[in-house]
Symmetry: C3
Subunit: 148 residues, 3 copies
């Protein structure tokens, strides 16, 4: 799980800066909808080879309204029974980190309830930014196979 | 070809619920633009391994306007000559299933006309939902290799 | 690097037509964020197998406002030191090809400055369209492995 925020020359530059701050700015994110394959584990971020295609569930928002606060968050809900998939939820909006993170955790809880799966572990990450000119926030769950 | 519709706690939860009803709620959709590789066949949905990365052409729409009807549809046009690619079209809008499905079929027909390819088979799937609070509709064509 | 523009029966048909004009209309684009892996080279477009999944950084815009001019552009900045990644930027807006292309080149320059990487080569491609009814512009950088 990673997050970042940045101002930039344009919306896309701000997004790019947020990715760099998140530590995945030199990879090619491929956006996916939002499942943790069975038996995956949450690990600390590892360096990814530059230019890699990286399947990622992410939330991002940009704003060019000075003074506005924006935030992005992702939550991961892992199931009690390891043979089942876990769930990722993403949420971005104007508002504070605390609000957006609370919402995304609720979203993940609701999604597991819909699947009738008990939650073993619920983790989230969130970030906020008060806009000066043009800025972006970004929060993500990256799927990556670590060979040991 | 699959479709689903659902209400939910948030837009993304509604989308997630629609995926579950469509039978692909525990996979990671990767959105792609909209071609059927030559010699592909339409098959009945098969179970996909949880958490798989699944290349999918899809239409989806969410709404939080109570009483509004939304619909999503996809159409697949397969060519007479099997060495050519077929075409997928996706369409979502406010409106009835019948209207949206008619439009998406017309879109697929126009796309094949542009390619000067005769259509052997034109199939479509569509779904509608009348919104109570927050809801989503979803229709998709999934590319999947079935090993026998 | 490729680009194309087209009118169409719907927004998606116009987008599809723009892809066909760009020479990649029979492939499945998978949108990615925007890095050139180290040691990649810019090559002239090659034919891609129909239906292939093609990782692509692209800009696209549609409009249904008759008389409006829209444009899409992408820029690629390659670094002086070949062990580093290069950067792709994408931009679409109402406006002329010249304006949009200037902006996207500036975006790529700013992105490399943020990375403190000197630029060896900055290339861009852009296209504009004056809308009659419904139209789309499209500019892209495709990642593809050429086996020789």
């Amino acid at each position: 799980m990673v997050s970042g925020a940045s101002e930039g020359f344009s919306s896309l530059n701000a997004f790019d800066g947020a990715l760099l701050r998140a530590g995945i700015g030199d990879t090619n994110l491929v956006k996916m909808s939002s499942i943790v394959p069975p038996r995956c584990q949450l690990i600390s971020p590892v360096p990814l080879p530059p230019g890699s295609l990286v399947p990622t569930a992410y939330a991002s928002i940009t704003s060019d309204v000075p003074g506005e606060t924006i935030a992005s968050a992702v939550a991961v809900a892992l199931p009690k029974e390891p043979q089942y998939a876990g769930l990722i939820m993403e949420y971005s909006a104007r508002g504070s980190k605390a609000e957006i993170e609370e919402t995304v955790r609720r979203m993940a809880t609701e999604g597991m309830k819909l699947r009738e799966r008990e939650i073993k572990e619920l983790k989230s990450i969130a970030i906020e930014l008060k806009i000066q000119k043009v800025g972006a926030t970004f929060a993500a769950v990256v799927l990556w196979e670590v060979t040991s």
